[in-house]
Amino acid sequence: MKIRHRTLVPFDPQSTTRLREEQHGLHPDDVYLKPGRIPHIWCPGCGLGVVLNTYINGLKMAGLPVDRTAVVSGIGCTGRVAGYLNMDTYHTTHGRAIPFATGLALVRPDLTVTVFSGDGDLFAIGGNHFIHAARRNINLKILCVNNFNYGMTGGQAAPTTPVAARTTTTPYGNFEHSFNLPFLAYASGAVYVARWTTFHARHLVTAIAESLTRKGFTFIEVIAPCPIGYGRPNKLGSGLDEMKFYRENSLVQNDADPREADIGLKGKIIVGKFIDQSRPTFDQVYEENILKKFTRSA
């Protein structure tokens, strides 16, 4: 028996990078994305790509240079944003995006630090960090993508899953009350609280640009379709059907009371800019109360 060996071809690192970068640069926003990372892994109809796109457009609208911004993200589908953006990004451990970003924002006050994460990461395992960062009013921009479940691990119930919604872990319908995220952020002390859906892409760009110029702890909740994890067990249809649902069922109410902004399974969604106030930030309070005592008067 004769064994025929294949001829060995030496590995050419140039060819793979060339293949990956072939598609890069076709779109004008590709300068904000790492070469070779697009197409991303998100499902067709997922809203996360819209949020990433609107964030890039918000940066452009605010006129912030890329080297003055940093993005920190946690674990989950949304956490992959840190891998796609071509700027200073960090992909932290589960739920600890805010502690990492807190350190970054305190050491480098000149940077605009955005925390880009999902509802499961920010409010389930990282809930305590969220309320304390909001209480201290640290200069962080929180962008929370709410898709009502844990999408990456297979559609389990999250703290934002509405009552009676079916998920993998609640096959008879969820019976636990969900968080009202804008109210939680407002009660904890955020200075800017807004909620938009991915259908309101233009409002979302304006809100992101506005929040990037504010000093202090800002919070934007983005409601995004999750056709695989949340849409399929609840019979909400494809991602496009969920976007049409947002078009028909969202009420734009700026300056609405955040305590009335609860979301049901198929109820109305109140969107808008809820809170826009100013409060002394952590840096200012620290400088006034602590640093001034130790600086010698000349």
């Binding site: 004008p28 197409p39 996360l48 796109n53 233009r202």
Partner: protein
């Protein structure tokens, strides 16, 4: 809104004309751009791209007013519009807009 004649300041206004560029192999067929285009410029094409999805197709190239909504709403960075020219307002445009958005 209904116009019954050409507005008197029609010379000061113009309609931007955009040209859509579609990167077909990036499209994952979510149909967001087709559904939410305010002028219904796009349509699902019958051809397949590299991944097996149907990318959008421009049906009325002159109708695009370069509003950039498809660019903002595309999750895949697969479509964008470029400003080409500005078109002067004519009474025909006013009539069409009245028909489209009028009572």
């Amino acid at each position: 809104m209904k116009f019954w004649r050409l507005p008197l300041d029609a010379k000061d206004h113009s309609i931007p004309q955009g040209e859509l560029v579609i990167i077909k192999d990036r499209c994952k067929g979510c149909n967001f751009c087709i559904e939410f285009c305010p002028n219904q410029v796009l349509k699902e094409s019958s051809e397949f791209n590299k991944k097996g999805y149907h990318p959008p197709q421009v049906t009325k190239q002159g109708e695009c007013v370069n509003c950039n909504l498809c660019e903002i709403i595309c999750p895949e960075f697969a479509i964008y519009s470029e400003l080409k020219t500005y078109k002067e307002l004519t009474s025909e445009d006013i009539l069409n807009y009245s028909k489209k958005f009028g009572a």
